[in-house]
């Protein structure tokens, strides 16, 4: 309770623009609230996010093809879900629909089935937004037929687990069709996203190649160093052996000399 109050106080002390930015991140529309109520709305949304089913959130992320690691925190997942604008709900489970509805600010009674949830989500979209989406979808289908007619969606993959898993994930790994992207972000946004994605994927591929080459080179250097080390030690020991041979021969000669001197003394 005390921690909750402290978190709320911390939010209330934040500057207005930062608060608005935070609200947009977690799917709260800042202009729907009075400035003094925004902190409470964010606080409530955070508490609601903390209570959401994590598996269902991952389901929504998978459906929305957002780039997140599987070990991402609830808040990180919520931020990604807030970015999903898609209205094609096929493939999304009922818990996923509940999470999406909650994140989009729909009041639920708790006994809705999939059909009702879908209906509520569509109703919440509004006429103009729906019209704009349909227009974008139509443009998207034309463009996708023009530039990528045989494009098929690849299976979704989570990003590799990250230590903190709370930072912003790169959007490079998102794999949706261009039609969906144009439907969600408009013609320019969708195309820009596709170009960025292609460039990112090319860069990643090149970086992987460079990394592989560096690894190979490092292994080669390591092997050479190991060979050099063994040769160097063997050489040093050989030199030591030669020195010892010389010492033993000289010692032997010296012994012979001493022996001769003892039995055949110099007159």
């Amino acid at each position: 309770m005390a921690a909750s109050a402290a978190a709320l106080r911390q939010l209330q002390e934040m500057p207005k623009d930062e608060l608005e930015h935070l609200a947009e991140d977690i799917g709260v529309e800042p202009h729907e609230f009075k400035p003094q109520d925004l902190a409470s709305a964010i606080h409530e949304r955070r508490q609601m996010i903390a209570a959401l089913d994590r598996a269902a959130m991952l389901d929504v992320v998978r459906w929305g093809r957002r780039p997140v690691p599987a070990n991402a925190s609830r808040e990180h997942l919520a931020k990604e879900i807030a970015k999903i604008k898609s209205m094609r709900f096929s493939g999304l489970s009922q818990p996923g629909l509940i999470v999406l509805a909650v994140m989009r600010g729909i009041k639920l009674h708790g006994n809705e089935d999939e059909r009702e949830l879908t209906k509520s989500l569509k109703k919440q979209e509004g006429l103009f937004r729906r019209f704009n989406r349909k227009r974008r979808a139509w443009i998207g289908s034309i463009v996708s037929n023009m530039i990528a007619p045989d494009e098929s969606d690849e299976d979704y993959k989570f990003l590799p687990p990250q230590p903190g898993a709370s930072g912003n994930a790169p959007s490079a790994l998102r794999e949706g069709s261009i039609k969906d992207e144009i439907e969600e972000a408009g013609l320019i946004g969708g195309l820009a996203s596709r170009v960025k994605k292609t460039a990112d994927s090319y860069l990643n591929q090149k970086l992987d190649e460079i990394e592989l080459r560096i690894d190979r080179k490092l292994d080669e250097i390591d092997n050479r160093l190991a060979e050099w080390r063994d040769k160097e030690v063997a050489n040093r020991i050989r030199i030591l052996k030669v020195t010892l041979w010389a010492s033993v021969i000289v010692a032997g000669l010296s012994l012979v000399y001493s022996y001769v001197q003892l039995y055949f003394p110099h007159k």
Binding site: R229, K241, L255, L262
Partner: protein, 95 residues
Amino acid sequence: MPDIDFFNFFRQLLSLVATVYATVVTLQSLWGWYVWLAGQDKYIGMVRRYIIVHGLRLRFLKFVGDLFVCILLCVVFIMLWHAHQLVHELKLAMN
């Protein structure tokens, strides 16, 4: 006129000079390595670990024969040294 055995003189002088020289050079080198490797820099720490790893990865089979010969030669050298002492004692006894 003192009776100097030049062979003995040369032998003892050589052993003295060679031993002192080898000891000084070896100690100098070891001290230099010790000072360098005892540094607090994080890269020196990496070098320290790298040296340990290389020490552990050393392939003994490549030079174990030479090492064995060196040990045997050391034993022979010590025996010859002992023989020298015996001859010297014998010489004193005979005199």
